[in-house]
Symmetry: C2
Subunit: 406 residues, 2 copies
């Protein structure tokens, strides 16, 4: 990493990711050891005319102290000003940048998973409101930290591991292109064609089939396939995730049946690693969750509310994904979910359906937990309302003619 890498990554987050406008407040969510990147982000945001950069630093070890020592009846408590700040950022039409890249791996190791599962912070429910109202231009970006690099490349020494993570993050963020903005526009054009073709096919369901997987996910009558070319109510374009490689929608939370095997490990927001996950669904509900590691914490999360054991998202990723091509397991959902097709327990996206009737049917929950189920050897097939089977992904390649036509 050079000074220039740091400021180029910050500029990408500010200009391509959040697309900060002159006069905007910029909310930043960071962990303490993201500070060098935060300083680069602040400089870049002010350089783009930001009015104020409001950094909220999160400390996983303060969360640990809470789970370890706080009175049992207080663990769900969230001070009202946490959500009020998020709503105020929406009212002010702010930009919001969230930084990912673990700084304290295993921060919650050895704690009671039931107590850990009851503290949802730093996530607050008001974030869903602002996202659905599209009042902020927001982005989540990856920043390479040493603890994260050690997790990804345990066989390398510290210096080599961090250098490799920087190289890979630059590659998947398309910072190694002569013109990263143009490279993003080209990739987003492809994803937009895929999403349009899927939406126009008016599928009734999608079927995932591969070793250990035979899962049918029903869609809602007006499910729309979305990709990351977003804009706010005021027409400010932004990329919610940098990087992003996915096309996604919200399924019918009552019509998911079959069983599925995860194709990548997943890391929960508290740092718990879940490996070798198997889930069986009946009428939309996960009725059986097993794993080689981490099953208990995940089961705890899916019991938080009625919607936590149902699906809020199904997302398709083709083999052109730079993350999938690398083959690295990043132990970080922001990157790993863009390596492969995935589904998510919990909250769905009201903007991914067209009618109020369907919006009322989109899954609701305090959690949103993505896990990867796709890959080159998992076929994805669309089921039309007429009972036809339409190939969607074979060997990781889009089968929808319009996608590859352009």
């Amino acid at each position: 990493m050079t000074e220039s890498d740091l400021s180029r990554l910050a500029d990408l987050a500010v200009s391509v990711g959040a697309n900060v406008q002159p006069g905007q407040i910029v909310g930043v969510s960071a962990e303490l050891d993201h500070r060098d990147f935060v300083h680069a982000l602040a400089a870049s945001a002010y350089d783009h005319g930001a009015k104020f950069v409001d950094v909220s630093y999160i400390d996983p070890l303060v969360k640990r102290a809470r789970i370890e020592f706080a009175p049992d009846d207080s663990l769900e408590y969230v001070p009202p000003w946490y959500g009020q700040r998020v709503l105020a950022l929406g009212e002010q039409r702010a930009a919001v940048i969230t930084i990912r890249g673990t700084t304290v791996p295993g921060a919650l190791d050895g704690l009671d998973p039931k107590r850990a599962g009851r503290d949802q912070l730093p996530r607050v429910k008001e974030t869903n409101v602002v996202v659905n109202e599209r009042t902020v231009n927001w982005t989540i970006v990856a920043y390479p930290t040493l603890p994260w690099a050690r997790l990804c490349y345990p066989d390398l020494d510290d210096e080599a591991a961090l250098a490799r993570l920087w190289e890979e993050v630059k590659h998947v963020s398309r910072l190694d292109e002569p013109d990263p903005l143009q490279a993003w526009e080209a990739r987003l054009d492809e994803l937009e064609r895929a999403s349009e073709a899927l939406t126009e096919a008016h599928l009734d369901a999608v079927h995932f089939e591969g070793e250990g997987t035979d899962l049918t996910i029903g869609l809602l009558p007006t499910s729309i396939w979305r990709m990351a070319r977003w804009s706010t109510v005021d027409g400010i374009r932004h990329l919610p995730n940098v990087p992003t490689e996915e096309v996604f929608t919200s399924p019918d939370p009552m019509r998911v049946d079959g069983h599925v095997r995860s194709t990548k490990p997943l890391v929960l927001s508290d740092g718990t690693l879940v490996r070798g996950l198997h889930v069986r669904f009946e009428q939309g509900r996960a009725v059986e969750i097993t794993a080689d590691e981490g099953a208990e914490v995940l089961r705890g999360r899916t019991q938080i509310d009625e919607g936590a054991a149902r699906l809020g998202e199904v997302a398709l990723v083709d083999r052109e994904s730079r993350i999938g091509q690398l083959g690295t397991v990043f132990y970080e959902t922001l990157l790993d979910e863009n390596a492969a097709s995935h589904i998510a327990f919990g909250s769905g996206f009201s903007f991914a359906v067209e009618t109020d009737e369907d919006r009322a049917r989109v899954n609701e929950s305090a959690v949103h937990i993505d896990f990867m189920i796709g890959g080159d050897d998992v076929d994805v097939t669309g089921l039309t309302r007429e009972g036809e089977r339409v190939p969607v992904l074979r060997g990781g390649v889009w089968q929808l003619t319009t996608v590859n036509a352009a």
Copy 2:
């Protein structure tokens, strides 16, 4: 410093300083490199039954980026949620702990002092409201950091400097006593007797006299001398500063005349060092501010509003002060102001007078800047309404008989 020093200092802040009650929210203000102490505070607060520990981390280098790069018309802006959080902590009857001990000395070096002076954060005006309404049990505590230790003892190596700062902070915090709480009670008893004797003397003014100093500070008709034995509206006792050695009141902001020399350097909230300060007052207003170093930034601060060039506080410190006895210059107002008698530009304390009429006369300002003017060779004399001169401090010793009587 040992693990035990850290947790004993945290316990002192939680139990003696803020006096955290079961079920309370505890707001903590810290800089990023205070994190080890924050974790100890969180553990101790939860151990005392706290409902939630809400840590607000402040990053001086984000402030630097603002002053360096933000649009010129935005520098006074404060997001509304900053003040709302402070007011909400009051409404919730929270405890509040603020940590002092510089982590990034010179964070604002080389910046335009006029731009720097316009950004008042992290101070927000709502803090004055909550302090005056006495709705939170709050404390400010000193935590030894390496950058701070280097500043205090430039001739020692890092390890020795930090060890010495820990020893001195433990000493002035009375953590080296077998029973720190009892040691504090004994010292607070003395300060309470001094404050009562001063209040009962109904002085019209106090006169400071020594080399370079001949200053008369008029008091308000109902000025009450206060010390740090405070309690909230709900009767929760707390120590606003740990350590504390002072007896103070709010003077008449229109009746200060003469000239005064600072007896210790002072460090402004932005890190600017002011040495060799001389101030001349006419009818309450500082009409001349000179210094060997830092005069320009201080002059800028005193021009922020009408009250910034007038006095909000006069405080007396006797030679029993452990801080004064050490003779160390800590470059940190929390400690240095307790080494010697001092006065403060800016906001006064409405609780330091008795009538609404006098409350309306107490100085108001967005700033509060203490500077030290006392010492063993500065005599403090009370002037009664009858024109009598009553010795108050001679050679740093209380001359009010009731103080030493007990």
